[in-house]
């Protein structure tokens, strides 16, 4: 059984307008997505800005009011606040935020920040609590000095690690990491990514790793879902996505990743522009009449793509032939 199962999740934000300010329409931030996260894996969620990644992440951690659909954890639908409370859900599912500065309360000392979930879920004695905080700091590679300092006294990478310390404090099973490194410099990014991997190995945590940087996702994730317009357009293993992308949107995303190989940049640019052209031209084939992605169909046991079944099959065959 999967650690967590997301069934047909929808999050719509109402748009009010008209004379009586009624709800006349809605922003379909997340519009019916389903996927499962297995224990101990890192699940990547990729997509362009506004595609609904954060909303999905927040829904899973229980920060967002879900319009419809289920998120099943230990057999319970945790979209119900009552279920979340009963399960002490957030003890098991935690979150790391993109902006390390804003996610740490600037007026709280590090001790209080890291101890916050402990105080709510574990009720330790004062000394035990302090000890646990020190251990956590040690695990994320910070000195005990940090205990009584404020967040602003740390660098971006250190802050992000404090965020991680807080997230792992209660020994969670799943951590939602919403673009945890996109605000960081290259070297600091490396530091945090390494660190997240280590924690995962040591604690057996699963990640839902949200990012729009396909390079980072490739480095981190085993399974990847590509999101567009609130829906999933492609879903598969790292190999499926990076080596056998089927949906034009996935291809376009991949093509847009800047290539560090200077020698082939002209070629790379040409490919990218070709894919872009194809994306512009073939909208009608890849998206339904409303411009929304189709439902997912399976092309292999691990690989799903949001296309009409026959079209998906033919693409998959073509892909295999190229490989062969």
């Amino acid at each position: 059984m999967s650690l967590i199962e997301i069934h047909n999740l929808k999050v719509h934000y109402p748009i009010r307008s008209g004379f009586w300010n009624r709800v006349t329409d809605s922003v379909k931030a997340v519009d019916g997505i389903s996927f499962n996260i297995e224990a101990g894996e890192t699940y990547g969620l990729v997509g362009e800005s506004g595609s609904g990644k954060s909303t999905t992440g927040k829904s899973v951690v229980g920060l967002e009011k879900v319009t419809s659909g289920q998120i099943i954890y230990q057999g319970q639908d945790i979209t119900q606040p009552a279920n979340r409370r009963r399960l002490h859900y957030n003890r098991d599912v935690q979150m790391i935020f993109q902006d390390s500065l804003s996610s740490l309360n600037p007026r709280k000392r590090i001790e209080d920040i890291i101890a916050e979930p402990l105080r709510n879920f574990e009720h330790l004695s004062k000394d035990d609590e302090k000890l646990r905080v020190l251990q956590l700091l040690d695990i994320v590679g910070l000195d005990a000095d940090a205990l009584y300092k404020y967040p602003h006294q740390f660098s971006g990478g250190q802050r992000q690690r404090i965020g991680v310390a807080r997230a792992v404090a209660t020994n969670p099973k799943l951590i939602i990491a919403d673009e945890p490194v996109s605000a960081l410099d290259l070297s600091v990014q490396a530091q945090v990514l390494n660190f997240m991997k280590r924690i995962q190995q040591e604690f057996g945590i699963s990640y839902l790793f949200i990012s729009h940087d396909l390079g980072v996702v490739r480095h981190m994730c085993n399974n990847i879902a590509i999101m567009h317009k609130g829906r999933l357009v492609e879903l598969g293993t790292r190999d499926d996505i990076y080596h056998h992308p089927l949906h034009i949107y996935t291809k376009r995303l991949l093509a847009a990743i800047p290539e560090t190989n200077v020698n082939q940049r002209a070629a790379h640019r040409a490919t990218r522009q070709a894919v872009e052209q194809a994306y512009q031209d073939q909208q009608a084939r890849y998206y339904d009449a409303d411009g929304a992605p189709f439902p997912l169909v399976a092309v292999s046991p691990t690989h799903f793509v949001a296309l009409p079944a026959d079209f998906a099959q033919s693409l998959a065959h073509a892909e295999q032939e190229v490989q062969a």
Binding site: R109, P117, R132, D145, L147, K149, F203
Partner: protein, 316 residues
Amino acid sequence: MPNKIDQQSSISAADLTRLNQEAQSEATPSTARIIWNEFKADRPAMAALIIIVGFILFVMVAALFIDTPKMMETNIMNYFNPPFSAQDWLGADSAGRSIAQQLIVGSRNSIGIALGLTAISSTFGIAWGLISGYFNGYVDWGMQRVYDFMMMLPMLMIIIVLVTIIPHYNAITLTLIFSLFYWEGTSRLIRSRTLAEADKDYVAASITSGTNQWKIIFNQIMPNISSLIIVDTTLSFAENIGVETGLSFLGFGLPSQTPSLGTLIANANDPNNITQYWWTWLPAALEIIVLCLSISYIGQVLRRAADASQRQGMTN
């Protein structure tokens, strides 16, 4: 499975005290301390602070030694005594009552009203703003309607009507009446800042840490707008010292036997008093101006200090 963490870290209970001490020695001073240090460094601000606190204490204590009913007795012989005379070094008013004594008791009353009013209206306004800003949806909607309604009320008029209705009103009732209205400014300020704060990720982090909403509002968000609160409260205090003067001037302020800065300044209502008997109103007017200026100066310093304590992080 707490042991999991124990396994991963080499730190054990034995190290606790040592590490704690190490951390303590490195501890960053709290915001309050930073502000205090700032004051210590800024001499004029410190002076203003000492003067204000000293003055308030003096007035509070000195007023205890003045028998107010006796002081307010008509003394025909001292009628409009000029200042610097033997009995009344600040002169006497139309009923021969000592201006100096009235000034002390009046300051006590006015400052008392200001303190009470600031305490009530700020507490209420802060709570209102925090709650309204944090809970969007129906709670906020309802609270905003109440706020809009209160804003629509012509405050001065309603206060005057209320004052005429209430038969036995005194400084406390007056404070309460003012409190009905004076929370609005604070609440709006706090609400808009709370709206911004509530959007920040640390609030989301607290929610996922299982902290309950009230704790989030008052333990997490409130400290972050504390500098705003401190400054706003100081400035309202400065403003509130003069709050009953206008009403007293119109004749709806404190009862005539309760001296206040307002009743004293209202002496200027009679043009003859303006020059001829200037001592009946001018000292009180000057006192208000000086108090208000000093307190707002302190407010500015507080704002600077609070900002500095927040800014520190950026330059480090």
